[in-house]
Subunit: 141 residues, 2 copies
């Protein structure tokens, strides 16, 4: 067996991540969401009325990436961005009723995708945890 791209973890990870967002695309289309937007919505479903910096910490995404995503979600009526009264530098990002209601509707998406990949749940869990520790270690550099 001669050496292959798939021998490298970085390739495997990159490929899996691309495959994931590709697989999510058709499922999220009916909600008019991209994967990045869906990620932000998930964060807000877990904790509403947060600042952009807090959202950045939770999603592990750059504020510069987040601003346009949040603006687009605002444009779709999913959330509001209001200047904080305590600290006028901050913007409080809060779900609208539409944004809250979407949580129930979008709940099927995850299970739809899981159905299409029949991987042992325990494998999924170790994969998940190993990805997180890797991400942490890479971030520490």
């Amino acid at each position: 067996m001669k050496p292959q791209l798939s021998d490298n973890l970085c390739f495997a990870l990159y490929t899996a991540s691309n495959a994931l967002t590709r697989a999510y695309r058709p499922l999220l289309e009916r909600f008019d969401l991209t994967y990045g937007q869906y990620l932000v919505m998930q964060a807000l479903w877990l904790e509403d009325k947060v600042s952009l910096t807090e959202l950045s910490r939770q999603t592990r995404l750059d504020p510069g990436s987040l601003t346009p995503v949040v603006k687009r979600l605002e444009g779709k009526g999913m959330l509001t961005r209001t200047v904080s009264s305590e600290d006028e530098r901050r913007k409080v990002i809060a779900l609208t009723e539409t944004g809250q209601a979407l949580q129930q509707q979008a709940a099927v998406v995850k299970s739809e995708l899981e159905q299409k990949t029949d991987i042992d749940p325990q494998v999924i869990d170790t994969l998940r945890r190993h990805c997180l520790t890797l991400a942490d270690q890479l971030a520490k550099v």
Copy 2:
């Protein structure tokens, strides 16, 4: 423990992949390469003089994504793109001497990154293989 974004495999994978390209950036900077360009170079180091379609198969990247990347690498003098004589639709992508020579110089990059993450090699290998099977399963949909 209340539910978190990191409970989801998709989040873990997405985060790890972003962290990876972020970690590669400073290491590849001195070669004037992005991670995507480095990936294409790796593919060519393994098999030179291939068509764009073949490169697309090996890198698991869309031809539409690949064309501009390959053009940029051509602009940097790393490779040439010549129309195939047998089939004039095809373009043969071939490394230049500069492109070939880069392989030795860039060999350090991988080990540099490995040093910064002290994860059990066996864990890396299972992580790698699980990512590949996940990617395959997601692609089959």
